[in-house]
Amino acid sequence: MKVLSPVSLSGIRAQAAQHWQATFGGWHSGRPVITVGMATCGRAAGAMDVLQALRDELARLELDCPVVEVGCTGHCYAEPLVTIYKPGYPAICYGYVNPVIARTLLREFLQGDNPCPEFVLGALETNDLVPSFADFPRAKYETRLLLKNCGQIDPEQIEHYIANGGYAALEKALQITPEEVITEIKEARLRGRGGAGFPTGEKWEMCRRAPGRPKYVICNADEGDPGAFMDRAVLESDPHSVLESLIIAGYAIGAGQGYIYVRAEYPLAVQRLRLALRQARQHNLLGRHILGNAFSFDVRLFLGSGAFICGEETALIASLEGEAGIPRHRPPYPAEHGLHGKPTLIDNVKTLGCVRHIIRDGAKAFAAIGTQKSTGTAVFALAGKVVNTGLVEVPMGTTLRQIIFDVGGGIPKGKRFKAVQIGGPSGACLPESALDLPVDFDSLTDAGAMMGSGGMVVLDEDDCMVEIARYFLQFTQRESCGKCTFCRLGTRQMLAILDDITKGKGKPEDIAVLAELAEDVKAGSLCGLGKTAPNPVLSTLRYFRDEYEAHVKEGRCPALMCQDLINYYIIPEKCERSCDACVGTCTVEAISPNSKRIKVIDQAKCVKCGLCLPACPIKYGAIIKQSPPQVQK
């Protein structure tokens, strides 16, 4: 590309390095620094109060120590997180911090010399003093690429990003031709992280070659899956990484205008993206003649209204055009016929997040991570019955067992693992026998699941698989746009069947009808929402059919979860008559003694809250939860 007036990043870089040095440099030369995780996960856990307590106490103690607001480190289970960089010590991260602990840390560790091991989550590097993150079992599997900066830099300071290698990829991309950029992406064998796993390089090439001008690039940050928050974390914690990659994508396909379609429910992400755009413009990383090259490009934010279907690319484009967010038939694909009928590249936040790494460190380095067909890392939001909930980034090909048991720390309370729901509402439930499945695009598809957006919910013996299927189908049924017959009416029928089964009203033929409808909705629907909505049902029917049958044939919920199929019952032989511990716990006065002073639950009054269950002393263990319900004669 022709250079108009050679501007390079080096000027900005020196400035950024200085800025970074001024904040974190002191750690090695006498002045401490503190970082606080201030992403949505941290804020929800009370990080605002912790931040305030730190600032107040530092002022009171008259200590010179900057406090930097950083993003999400992925250890969301232990928020609020505070990391102290004290000269002479390793950087130590403290978890579950509250204002009291925060003040204690300042007095004991910053003023005194006691690193307070009782509050330590882990040190950022190995040392002899306190345990470090490297000692965690998860350290063996975690590979931080997309999340590298998250929680380490202040997302509101472009200098922090640049001082950590930011915008070097853009600089490099502008020195090679757009075709060479695309070749690099193809050689990295990058695949789309938005769900389908389509080869990204091929899509870019298709879009570059497509006739028609102008061309557009769109970053899909609609992230509508319940329980998924990977894109949010990246946008909040490292917005420039997405922006840099989007600019590179614009250069590669020959676009002049980019969009970031972000859901309005992510106010912090929106605010940080706005700021990032402004900073990038100031430094000529956006706008006319970027870094002195002939390439001009700008980016606009578009706030989505939060409908799940607007994440589907054709619906997203309709929504950007000011129309209702309703999908249309493909082909033509957006790469050829997209926004305003022009060639449009649309990529997920995480897909783009990989781009800058590929360009900066080369396709080979990226392709060395993961498997042959699924390169790079996978980011999951680990949730449900697992010890360490939060964000996890592992190489593709890591097994489910490693993610759940090594990274996630296994199932809490000594319960048994039952299944893992992967891929959100379009995904599937996989049983224990699938635990050694490598997590990559193709293995998951073969098992009837989907990489999806990256939600991963762990289920244990207390989770009813019929209810889980019903829960996810209820979500998609509500989110269906209603355009096409199978999705609009088929999911409605399926949900009615599942409602009936979980209420004990299922008829013997219901399971077969459910399976037939699921197959038809999958094959007959217009867009990905309808095509994947049956997956939770199909996968539970495939792996947990016995649970469906128990509900329908025996009126029994094996997991004791479906409220209509359980009751609480006091075993007369076990009730210690002189004890009345349970009686008072019942808020609706359903428990009373009979003539022999044995306690009996009046099932007509009982609201199945379960409060009485733990009230019965363990040595008696007279109260049980049972399915199917039985009544004391």
Binding site: R478, S480, C481, T485, F486, R488, R492, D520, A523, S525
Partner: protein, 221 residues
Amino acid sequence: MKTVTLSIDGKKVFAHTGEKVLWAALDNGIYIPNLCAMRENSEEPMTACRLCFVEIEGYAQPVTACTEPVREGLEVSTRGERALRLARSGLELLLASHPIECARCPVNRACELQRMAAHLGIKLKTRRLRKFVHEFPIDSSSPLFVYDPNKCVLCGRCVFICQKLPGTPAIGFAHRGFDRRVTTCGDEPIGNRCGDCTECVSACPSGALVFKSRSPAADGS
């Protein structure tokens, strides 16, 4: 214009390049169930009804005939078991959400739903599925026609025509999912909004939009 030769159910058929399989079939006397397809927008079909499935030699899955461009040598079957299963299932879903009161319906025996049910060999009253019929009020505010939203199958033909005509369109889609319906802006009575060209009534394949001349009962009540 260039033509191609393809085979549909073993019959050799000529069609224009760029044309869709559905129209090639219909123009040659081969019926494929369909509700939402219109010649006027065959370039960008609505693809909402999902009834026009056919099987094509070499394809892994049945495809919608209204979106599939004809190609030289294409071998299309409208009677493949998988395509028929989808068409039957789709129609059954529509019928399960449609008030089946044909004897009293003004379009009885001129109804596309009845025609397709006969073609596909399924009953109008489904036993397999549950009945979910909306109970929206019937709109007889127009002097010329009656709109019964409960009978609408959301094919979108009326909306397409109305929006294509000059002037401000009277009707469009509103709401999502199962509640999606054809209505006016602000759910006003259709008579307040519409110029009574009645193009939509002619386009409607079900008993949702009918001329008052055909439906004396709905007028008076």
